[in-house]
């Protein structure tokens, strides 16, 4: 039996059932990411999946008919991403400086 592979990634936005909060109607919007994989051979089989569900926004319908979209973000995640960017920049600058130094030495020699 030949080996079979199935890999699939799904990324989409889900709009949920409206939530009634007093005179406001809120429609929750979430971002879904699904990654799944399956492998199958003559003597084995395996499968796995990873799912991430994060709120993206909420659509607010006011009693006067006005509709507003409120974006939901994660300041902790944003701060960590920015810290990681700083880290990558520092490492890249350091490596570039060390390489430049080594190159200058070689030229001088």
């Amino acid at each position: 039996m030949p080996e079979e592979h199935l890999d699939k990634r799904i990324e989409k936005e889900l709009t949920g059932e409206p939530i009634q909060a007093g005179e406001y109607t809120l429609r929750p919007v979430a971002h879904v990411y699904v990654s799944r994989g399956e492998r199958e051979g003559e003597m084995y089989g395996m499968a796995g999946a990873f799912v991430r569900l994060a709120p993206a926004a909420v659509i607010v319908e006011r009693p006067d008919g006005d509709v507003q979209r409120i974006t939901i973000d994660d300041p902790t995640e944003r701060a960590i991403t920015n810290l990681a960017r700083v880290g990558v920049t520092v490492a890249a600058v350091s490596v570039a400086a060390m390489l430049a130094r080594r190159l200058a030495r070689l030229v001088r020699a």
């Binding site: 007093g22 809120l26 089989g45 395996m46 796995g48 799912v51 507003q68 902790t76 990681a84």
Partner: protein
């Protein structure tokens, strides 16, 4: 399709079909004139596998008078994990709807410490390279 992958396939299909925003938006909590809706982030993952092996070489010497038996074995296993992390809440009060995020100070402090160590390492390595004599 083996029994394991067939079962996992069905489970994954069911799981994808059952994904709803309810998992990340909580039920409204009303206290006086204020309504709060908790908001969180969810992730989970799982895996399952099985295998079968067979060899014509007998595993043990058979008892006297018996034919040697082929050695074979099978096994299966699986595991999974997940996490739910609060992100903030929606606040409905005084004719206004707003999103109030929650800053996770513990995670932030840990990330800042890790990043500071990382930066110190690279800066020290660079200074060492420049301080070295020819």
């Amino acid at each position: 399709m083996t029994q394991t992958t067939e079962r996992s396939h069905e489970l994954i299909e069911k799981m994808i079909d059952s994904l709803k925003t309810d998992a990340v938006f909580g039920a409204p909590i009303r206290q006086g004139d204020v309504t709060l809706i908790p908001v969180s982030r969810v992730w989970y993952g799982f895996g399952e596998g099985s295998g079968y092996g067979r060899t014509d070489t007998p595993a043990d010497t058979p008892p006297e008078g018996e034919q040697p038996q082929a050695a074979e074995g099978a096994g299966e296993g699986g595991g999974g994990g997940g996490s739910v992390r609060p992100m903030g809440y929606l606040r409905i009060a005084n004719g206004k709807v707003s999103y109030e995020p929650i800053l996770d100070n513990g995670r932030l402090a840990l990330a800042a410490f890790a990043m500071a160590s990382w930066n110190v390492f690279w800066i020290a390595a660079t200074l060492r390279a420049f301080a070295r004599r020819r």
